[in-house]
Symmetry: C2
Subunit: 195 residues, 2 copies
DNA sequence: GTCTATAATTCGATAGAC
DNA sequence: GTCTATCGAATTATAGAC
């Protein structure tokens, strides 16, 4: 009843979103202009405003993402780290939405807020049961998730934003091989000195 | 003979740099305006242009930093990780230049280039001898340094830029306790699976 | 050295014809 | 739905008086 609305210009909206993600990913929030996004999408800049109201709402729509984290409770305890690392790498190599959000979050408050919400609503819940096994204190989950975020986001920063040479060239498999044990420790060590 | 030039308005130049670092750190490159920087420094915007030419050169001057890495060859082999972690945390808690550079590097090509140079000229050389001991292949040094960068920059991103709650509240000692072993492994492990 | 005035752009957003 | 025209604001940068 509520999903029977294939508007005729639905393709246009999608084209705008795609172009917006590319521009926001390449230039960041402030340097990406509505004019340029419209040009990339092959339409008039006015249409962007008509469809999305203003630049901020356009970004919000373009940066709406689901990390689609796997269910870690179904993964062998000693492999959660590498599993997580591979998932993130995979996700980022094929979808520039995260790169756009990361670049924008560095200078735009709204984008940073988005990042924090993603962290709290998507990463913490998935990670919590794994952490609980090695560390009974339930208050530890957010801290461990934050540590995981720092390594994963740092890798993304070096690879996709700063384009730090050794990190850009390094094969995805090698990156996950290095990050896996790090994430594993952040999730399953009883304390910083353990393991 | 060459350093006898205490210009009368040297204090003004310093005030501009301080204000510039604060603004670039808080707002990023594009949102930080020369007007605002001048206002913070209590001078006329024209003076900023007169002293530094243009915005890009001003940023270059403001982002000129020396990480002042310690000599790792004088540190016990099994403590280089924690030593490095503590150094970076210490350095950043008291100097917002790195936060400014990090924020700006996300959207500004020149700032990103600066980051890469800092990495190649300051981190790689210091780290190379330590890596060489555990891994004879000299070509490994840049890769290990890049891994270290990813974790260190990721932590800075979460703590100072994104302000991810668990990471902001976490005491510096706890952060170094967690990051130390990670950096240690990146520097001294023979391969990703070792140790 | 310092400041006023302003040039030259650029961008987000709106009004309104078709 | 789509496009032309344009407003209003903000910015870097320069010219020139004092």
């Amino acid at each position: 009843m509520t999903d029977r609305k294939p508007r005729r210009s639905d393709a246009t909206r999608a084209a705008i979103l795609t172009a917006a993600r590319e521009r926001f990913a390449a230039d960041g929030y402030e340097r990406a202009t509505i004019r340029a996004i419209a040009a990339d999408a092959g339409i008039d800049p006015t249409m962007v405003m008509r469809y999305y109201g203003n630049k901020e709402k356009l970004f919000a729509a373009a940066a709406e993402i689901d990390i689609r984290l796997p269910d870690l409770t179904a993964v062998p305890r000693d492999q959660v780290g590498e599993r997580l690392a591979r998932h993130f790498l995979d996700r980022w190599e094929h979808d520039e939405t995260m790169a756009a959000l990361l670049r924008a979050a560095a200078t735009n408050g709204g984008a940073a807020q988005r990042m924090r919400e993603m962290f709290a609503q998507q990463l913490v819940p998935v990670v919590a049961p794994v952490v609980a096994e090695a560390c009974p204190d339930p208050a530890q989950a957010p801290a461990r998730a934050a540590l995981v975020s720092s390594q994963v986001l740092g890798a993304a920063l070096c690879r996709y934003v700063l384009r730090l040479e050794p990190f850009v060239t390094m094969p995805a498999d090698e990156v996950t091989a290095w990050l896996g044990p790090t994430l594993q420790r952040y999730l399953t060590a009883a304390d910083p000195a353990a393991r």
